[in-house]
C-alpha cells in the first residue's frame, strides 16, 4: 500500500494542478488568453443570466408549411386531371387535409390513380364522392425538416450578417419546431434584434390595378366584391403605424424576393436612406419584361404584406431597383440585412423570451461568489472543529474537489448559470458527505479497538460501496434533470453531476492519499479525528 503512495501522490498532484490551472485560466481576461500560448483560449462560458443578454425561443409555424405543400399538391393534381378532361373540386381545409369532390362516379378510378401516383398522399376517410387526404407521415416529416433547416439558415444569415449582425450570437435548433437564439451582451436594442429575427422578409413585386387612400374607400369602389384573383394590401407608415394608402393588386406576385442577389443602403438626392437591390440575371430578365409591359403603371413593392412604396414605372428596369420608404438609416440597414439573408418560408413567433439587463448579471455573479465563499468557509471551519487534523484532510480534499469541478467544467467549456452556481454551493455542502461517511466508519473501527492504520484501511473499505451507491443514485437524478432541463437549469444539472463525480474522487482517492501521507511510515497510536 505504502509503496503506491509516491506514485499516487504524483498522479493526484498532477491532476489537481492541471485542473487548478484550467480553473485559474477563467480569471485571465479573454484577449490575454487568446494572445498567450500558455493559457487555453476557451474556458467556462457565462450563461446569459450572468453576462446579460437575450434568450429567445422562436416557434416555427410548421402547420403553414404543410398547408402550403398541400396547396402545391392540389394544384398539380388538378392540372394533371385537367389534361384528361376531368374537373375536380379541391381545397385544403383548416386541419391540413386535402378535400376533393369528384363530379362523376365514373371518374373515381382515374382520380384515385392520380392521387396514388403522387406518392405523398394517404387517405384519411371518404364520404360518397368526397375524398379526404393528408400528407403521408414520411412526407410530412420531410416537409418539416426542409422548413426547419431553411428557417435556421435564414436566421443564422441575418444574425451573422457581416455588417449589421450581432456577434457571438448562437442560433440552434431546439426540439421539433423551435429555434433557440442566444444573444449575449447587456446593451442590445431588443426591438431592433426582434425585428431582425421576426420579419418574414417576404418581398413581392406586383403591378397595381387600382389604388386609394384607405382600404375602406378602395373596397367601396367594388360593391360587387373583388375579383377573386385580386387582393388589397395596405401601406402603413413605419413611424406612426397609420394607414396611408391601399392598393388593389393580383394575389400572385409577378416577381418575388427569391431572385434577389444583393441589397444595400444608399441615400437619395435628399439624403434619405433607401434600400437598393440587385436581381440575379434570371430575375433581371423577368423584371425587364414586367416593367416593359406595364410602363406607366404603378409597381407595388410589398414586404411582409405591407406596401413599402409604389413608384410609377417610367422606364424599363432590369437588374437594379430600390425601395423607398420613410425609414431611418438603421431601419434601412436592417431591411437590407433581411433582404440579403432571404425570406423565411414560414412565419415565426417568439414563444419564450428571457433577457437580463445591465447590472443584474454582474450582481448575480458577485452574490454567487460571496455565497460560495461563505459556504465554503463555514463548511471548512466546521470540519476543522469537528474532526481536527482529519478535518484538515477533509478540507484539503474539498478544495481539491472544487478545483477539479471547476477545471472539468472549464475543460468541457460548459455554461455557468446562476442555478449552476447554486449547484456549486450545494456541492460544497454535500461533498463533505463522502468524507463524513468514511470518518464515521474510521471512528467506529477505532472504538472497536483496532489500530489506527487498520481502522483507516477498514473505514475506507467499508465506506466505499456506501459512497458509490449513494452517489450513483443522486447522479441518476442529476442526469435526468439535464435531459429534461432547459437553459439555466441545465447549468445546475451540469455542476451537480460533475460535482458528484469529483466529490467521490476527492473522498475516496484524495482523502485516502492524504491519510496515507499523514500516517506515513510512523508508528502512530492515536488519530486526530
Amino acid at each position: 500500500m505504502s509503496g503506491g503512495v509516491a506514485w499516487r501522490s504524483v498522479f493526484v498532484g498532477a491532476l489537481v494542478a492541471l485542473f487548478a490551472f484550467l480553473t485559474a485560466a477563467n480569471f485571465v481576461p479573454k484577449e490575454q488568453r487568446v494572445a498567450s500560448a500558455f493559457w487555453p483560449d476557451e474556458g467556462l462560458r457565462m450563461g446569459l443570466d450572468l453576462r446579460g443578454g437575450i434568450h429567445w425561443v422562436v416557434g416555427v409555424d410548421l402547420g403553414q408549411a404543410i398547408a402550403r405543400e398541400l396547396e402545391f399538391v392540389r394544384k398539380s393534381i388538378q392540372e394533371r386531371l385537367g389534361k384528361d378532361g376531368i374537373v375536380l373540386e379541391a381545397n385544403v381545409d383548416e386541419q391540413s387535409q386535402l378535400v376533393l369532390r369528384i363530379a362523376r362516379e365514373e371518374d373515381r378510378k382515374k382520380v384515385l390513380d392520380v392521387l396514388d401516383e403522387t406518392n405523398v398522399l394517404e387517405s384519411v376517410g371518404s364520404d360518397g364522392l368526397e375524398l379526404r387526404y393528408g400528407l403521408t407521415e414520411s412526407w410530412t416529416q420531410d416537409v418539416r425538416e426542409r422548413t426547419m433547416s431553411q428557417v435556421l439558415e435564414v436566421l443564422r444569415r441575418r444574425i451573422d450578417d457581416p455588417q449589421r449582425g450581432i456577434p457571438d450570437s448562437v442560433v440552434t435548433r431546439q426540439g421539433d419546431d423551435r429555434v433557440l437564439v442566444q444573444i449575449p451582451g447587456e446593451e442590445i436594442d431588443r426591438e431592433r434584434a426582434r425585428t431582425l429575427l421576426k420579419s418574414t422578409g417576404f418581398l413581392e413585386f406586383k403591378i397595381v390595378v387600382d389604388a386609394d387612400a384607405s382600404e375602406e374607400t378602395l373596397r367601396a369602389r367594388y360593391p360587387d366584391g373583388l375579383d377573386p384573383a385580386m387582393a388589397v394590401v395596405k401601406q402603413v407608415d413605419q413611424e406612426s403605424g397609420a394607414e396611408v394608402g391601399a392598393y388593389l393588386v393580383p394575389k400572385v406576385a409577378d416577381i418575388t424576393g427569391d431572385y434577389l442577389e444583393d441589397a444595400r443602403v444608399q441615400f437619395d438626392q435628399q439624403q434619405r436612406p433607401i434600400v437598393e437591390f440587385t436581381f440575379s440575371p434570371e430575375g433581371g430578365q423577368l423584371f425587364e419584361a414586367l416593367t416593359e409591359k406595364n410602363r406607366g403603371k404603378q409597381l407595388a413593392i410589398i414586404l411582409d404584406e405591407n406596401v413599402y412604396s409604389a413608384p410609377a414605372i417610367r422606364a424599363r428596369i432590369s437588374t437594379r431597383g430600390m425601395i423607398e420608404g420613410r425609414f431611418t438609416a438603421d431601419e434601412a440597414a436592417d431591411l437590407a440585412v433581411i433582404l440579403r439573408a432571404g425570406s423565411l418560408s414560414v412565419p415565426v413567433v417568439i414563444e419564450e423570451e428571457r433577457t437580463v439587463g445591465p447590472g443584474l448579471g454582474q450582481d448575480s455573479i458577485s452574490k454567487g461568489a460571496l455565497a460560495s465563499g461563505i459556504g465554503l468557509i463555514a463548511v471548512l471551519v466546521f470540519g476543522f472543529v469537528y474532526y481536527k487534523v482529519s478535518g484538515v484532510i477533509a478540507g484539503i480534499s474539498l478544495v481539491a474537489n472544487l478545483l477539479l469541478l471547476l477545471g472539468l467544467i472549464s475543460l468541457f467549456e460548459a455554461t455557468l448559470t446562476m442555478p449552476g452556481i447554486a449547484g456549486l454551493v450545494l456541492t460544497i455542502g454535500m461533498a463533505v458527505d463522502a468524507n463524513v461517511l468514511v470518518f464515521e466508519r474510521i471512528r467506529e473501527e477505532l472504538r472497536s479497538g483496532r489500530s489506527v492504520r487498520a481502522s483507516v484501511a477498514t473505514g475506507f473499505e467499508k465506506a466505499t460501496w456506501t459512497v458509490l451507491d449513494a452517489n450513483i443514485t443522486t447522479l441518476i437524478t442529476a442526469i435526468i434533470l439535464f435531459e429534461y432541463g432547459t437553459g439555466p437549469i441545465k447549468g445546475f444539472a451540469v455542476t451537480l453531476s460533475v460535482g458528484i463525480v469529483t466529490s467521490v474522487f476527492a473522498a475516496l482517492v484524495v482523502s485516502r492519499l492524504l491519510f496515507d501521507l499523514y500516517l506515513g511510515n510512523r508508528n502512530v497510536s492515536t488519530l486526530s479525528i
Binding site: 454567487g368 463548511v379 456506501t466 451507491d469
Partner: protein, 340 residues
C-alpha cells in the same frame, strides 16, 4: 476524545413509534393538499405562461407597490402583480402578468399586428411607468408563451417520473426489490411535504412559486434524500449479514442509530451551504435556496422515519424468513464485506 454531536452509543427507538411518524407525515401532507385546494397552487410563469418584468428605479425616484400596481392597471394590465424586491426601501420591483389566452395570441399572430403581444405589452407598460413614476433600468424580462409553458410542464412531470423509475430500478438491482418502495415513498413524501410548505409560504407572502428553479430544487432534494436513504439501507443490509438471527426491528433501529451521526453531520454541512446561499445569494436564487432549505430537513426526516418503517413493513409482510440475510442481501452479494 473526538467531538460528537450525536453520541456513538446512542440507542433511540426510532422505529417503535413508526405509526406516530407516519401519521404525522400523513397529516402534514393532508394539510398541504388542503392548503393547495384552498389557496391554489402558486405556479410561476415558466409553467403557467406569462410575463415577468423586473426593474430598478433610478436614484431619487420613489415608488411603492400600490402606486406601481395602479399604473399597471391603468395601462390595461388588470392582472398585474407587483412585488418589491429586497429591503423595504429597495428600488427593485417585479411586475408580473399573464400571457394572452392562446386564441388571442393566435389571432394576433395571424393578423399583421405584432404576434408578440406580450412583448409589445412590456414596452407599453414601460412607457406608462416612465411617464407616471419616473426613470428606471430594465433588469430582467421573462416571457413564456402558452405553448412553451405547456411543454415545460410536461418535461417537468417527465423528469420527476423518470427519476422515480430509474431509482426504483437501481435500488432493486443493488439491494432487493423490497427496498425500493420505501425509498420511492420517501421521495414522494419529500416532494409532497415540501410542496405543501411552499404553498403555505407563498400564501404568507414569500416569493416562492412552482417554476423551473423550484423544480430543479425539488429534484436536488430527491437526490439528497435518496442519498440519505441509501446510506441507511446499506447499513441495514450489512448488519443483517452480520447478525442473521437478530430481530429485524432491532437491526433496523441499530442501523438508524449507527448512521445517525453522519445523517446529522451531512445535513448540517449542507444546511450551512444552503443558508449561505439563502442569505448571500440574492433574490434571483431565493426560491431555489428556500426550497432546498425545507427539502433537506424533510428529506433527512423521511429517510429515518418513512423509508425505514416501510422497509420493515415490506420485509415482515413479503420477506423470506425473518432477517435471513440470503434473501435480504440479494443483489448486494457482489459487495465484498469487511474481513472482520
Amino acid at each position: 476524545m473526538p467531538m460528537e454531536i450525536v453520541s456513538h452509543d446512542m440507542n433511540i427507538d426510532f422505529l417503535g413509534r413508526r405509526s406516530l411518524w407516519i401519521g404525522l407525515s400523513g397529516l402534514v401532507i393532508a394539510l398541504g393538499i388542503a392548503a393547495t385546494l384552498l389557496w391554489g397552487m402558486p405556479v410561476g410563469i415558466d409553467f403557467a405562461g406569462g410575463t415577468e418584468f423586473q426593474l430598478r428605479f433610478d436614484p431619487g425616484v420613489t415608488a411603492d407597490e400600490a402606486q406601481l400596481r395602479a399604473v399597471a392597471v391603468g395601462a390595461g394590465f388588470l392582472d398585474a402583480e407587483v412585488v418589491r424586491f429586497g429591503e423595504a426601501d429597495s428600488a427593485d420591483f417585479l411586475i408580473k402578468f399573464k400571457a394572452l389566452p392562446e386564441d388571442e395570441m393566435a389571432a394576433a399572430a395571424a393578423g399583421e399586428a405584432d404576434g408578440l403581444a406580450a412583448n409589445t405589452r412590456v414596452a407599453r407598460l414601460q412607457s406608462a411607468i416612465r411617464e407616471s413614476i419616473g426613470s428606471f433600468v430594465e433588469q430582467r424580462v421573462e416571457f413564456v408563451g402558452p405553448k412553451v409553458g405547456a411543454d415545460l410542464r410536461r418535461d417537468g412531470a417527465n423528469a420527476m417520473l423518470m427519476s422515480a423509475i430509474a431509482i426504483l430500478i437501481y435500488i432493486a438491482f443493488r439491494f432487493s426489490s423490497r427496498y425500493a418502495p420505501g425509498a420511492v415513498v420517501a421521495l414522494i413524501h419529500d416532494v409532497l411535504v415540501t410542496s405543501g410548505i411552499l404553498v403555505v409560504a407563498n400564501h404568507l407572502g414569500l416569493r416562492v412559486e412552482f417554476d423551473l428553479q423550484v423544480l430543479a430544487a425539488l429534484l436536488a432534494i430527491v437526490g439528497y434524500s435518496l442519498n440519505d436513504t441509501i446510506i441507511i439501507y446499506d447499513r441495514i443490509r450489512e448488519n443483517l449479514e452480520l447478525q442473521p438471527t437478530a430481530d429485524l426491528e432491532s437491526v433496523l433501529n441499530l442501523s438508524v442509530n449507527q448512521t445517525m451521526s453522519r445523517t446529522v453531520l451531512t445535513a448540517g454541512t449542507t444546511l450551512l451551504a444552503v443558508l449561505a446561499l439563502l442569505i448571500f445569494g440574492g433574490d434571483v436564487i431565493f426560491p431555489f435556496s428556500f426550497t432546498m432549505l425545507i427539502g433537506i430537513v424533510v428529506g433527512t426526516y423521511s429517510s429515518v422515519f418513512i423509508a425505514a418503517p416501510i422497509l420493515l413493513f415490506l420485509e415482515r409482510r413479503y420477506g423470506g424468513t425473518k432477517g435471513k440475510p440470503g434473501t435480504l442481501a440479494r443483489g448486494g452479494a457482489t459487495v465484498k464485506r469487511a474481513r472482520a
